[in-house]
Symmetry: C2
């Protein structure tokens, strides 16, 4: 058994508005030798996700607030280096919630062994086969009662969740309209993912008008990743009995002060709309079915994944900040 030096990213102050590099600090921490049933893991990939911004708030409701001056956490994939737990062996690939550090000592109950169908693509377990993919699947099938022939609008459509929503909805025979913030993302959505109409929300003059033009038959399902103006436009274009699944509202995460919401919420009544907020961790019951459908879709080339991979734990903060300025194209991953 050896000792290791872990590089950890700590949150050292709570951001107001868009976080900056000064809110974080890279710390070197000496890890003692493992004891009892401990396991020493070296993380290979970690995920940076928009929801993490919520955990940086003192009054986090989305999930527990990150404590100050401690290492943050989140989804990661690592390799077992040393183990005193007989259920694990060195070389095991393990999914864990101990991101933002390269080495850590854990216990078996916080590690999920994965047997990747493609060893060159294990980062998929943080994206299309992981939390963002499952989020898309749960939102569409548990909360939107998706039916073939319906029209689905997806905001942040090229993002880690959005791109899966778009492609799953297409596979289920829906017409799909996506919004994104660059022409490059727009082309990928149309050409690679088969999305029917894409709106660049940064260059279209009026999102509601652009969405109306893109949805002559109205919208039946809206997958909400952004909030604000996107929600307003979706409500304006929705058909009676429309369903909205809301897994995030990235547009508001960095507001120092709360911003007023859409002015057309009365349409929820008039159009008899159902909005369901959800957090994927409550829906592990769907994981098995999700993987049984998603893995073949990926193997058959029916679901494409786009990743932006940043290298080095010292670049993790930069990668995280890039999520809020659209630097990522698809799932943002840090290779450690």
């Amino acid at each position: 058994m050896n000792t290791y030096t872990a590089n950890q990213i700590h949150l050292i102050s709570r951001p107001s508005g868009l976080p900056t590099a000064e809110n974080f600090k890279l710390k070197k921490v000496q890890l003692d030798e493992i004891v009892d049933h401990e396991i020493l893991v070296k993380n290979i990939f970690m995920s940076v996700d928009p929801y993490m911004r919520g955990r940086m708030r003192e009054d986090a409701v989305y999930a527990q607030a990150y404590p100050l001056n401690e290492v943050m956490y989140g989804g990661a994939i690592g390799e077992v280096i040393e183990t005193l737990d007989p259920n694990f062996s060195p070389g095991d690939i393990v999914l864990n919630q101990r991101a933002w550090q390269d080495y850590f000592k854990g216990t078996g109950n916080e590690l999920t062994k994965i047997n990747p169908f493609d060893k060159n693509n294990i980062s998929l377990y943080l994206g299309t086969l992981g939390m963002p993919g499952l989020t898309a699947y749960v939102g569409l099938f548990k909360f939107c009662d998706l039916k073939p022939g319906e029209t689905v609008f997806v905001s942040a459509a090229s993002g880690a969740v959005g791109a899966n929503v778009c492609q799953i909805a297409k596979l289920k025979g829906c017409r799909v309209i996506g919004s994104c913030g660059s022409d490059k993302k727009s082309s990928w959505l149309k050409e690679e993912c088969g999305v029917d109409e894409v709106i660049n929300y940064k260059t279209c003059e009026n999102l509601t008008e652009a969405l109306k033009a893109a949805s002559p038959m109205g919208i039946d399902v809206y997958f909400e990743n952004v909030g604000g103006e996107h929600l307003q436009a979706a409500l304006d274009c929705m058909n009676p009995f429309g369903r909205i699944a809301a897994c995030g509202m990235i547009g508001s995460y960095n507001n120092a002060l709360p911003e007023a919401g859409p002015n057309n919420l009365m349409l929820i009544v008039g159009k008899k709309i159902r909005i369901t907020g959800f957090i994927v961790s409550d829906h592990a019951d769907m994981k098995e079915k999700f993987l049984s459908e998603m893995i073949p879709w990926i193997q058959n080339g029916q679901i494409k994944s786009q990743e932006t991979i940043t290298v080095g734990i010292d670049k993790a903060v930069e990668a995280f900040l890039g999520l809020f300025t659209g630097q990522n194209f698809g799932k943002m991953i840090v290779k450690i």
Copy 2:
């Protein structure tokens, strides 16, 4: 067969903001003798309801817009005077959607015979036993999965819908918090309806703080009749997996320009809240069960009804306008 002179209220211009008497006109219309299978009905009671404001807008989404210079319509109870339809007899009491007039010629398919359990209380079929009562029942049981022991918040709690929500929720073993706009209404809710806590939204300084104080265990179900600040406060106080049934947002009906919505909609995600908008006319399937529960509740004194009855069709506009300034106490009815 005779001819009758009907007094009808026509919408003659579309209101901007709060409607005024000038938007309406009382017209006398000569009715021809009934022919074929027609039925001549004299309305006894008519209902004025907040949703009617929506029908006065050109761009009504809640329901069809009222055409200009024609008689308006809505729920009423009348008596058959003459009939050429053998399924009806003079003296039959009939529920109809032909309000805003004292006499009208109708056909059998637009009349529902009722056999009132109490002939002195037939106006109940426009309130507790009618559309508002069914709205309360559908909202709580179809969209809120109400469970005993939960905390329910009801806005416009002494209104036609709200008072039924409060009392049904109490009968089902819930803790109930209501909001209303006068101390008289507040006392009635507490003393007659058994509501646990009542907030006077006009005199409390801060609705969110008042609601927090009234709900130390948080809110599980919010019955939305008002919108705006009420929705904001409800979201702030809701527990994870809270449910909101939205049948109206009276606070916004008279806005000439749309008003911004709550600034805390992100809580829908963080607290995994479900909001369902609905219109009661889509849920006639629950009517039979509703009446089978509600009639005994009324007979046993377990559900109380409060009505404000205005006399004379020439006072119908005044009664309607009173809904938006809180003049009504409970269900607003016009006796014709």
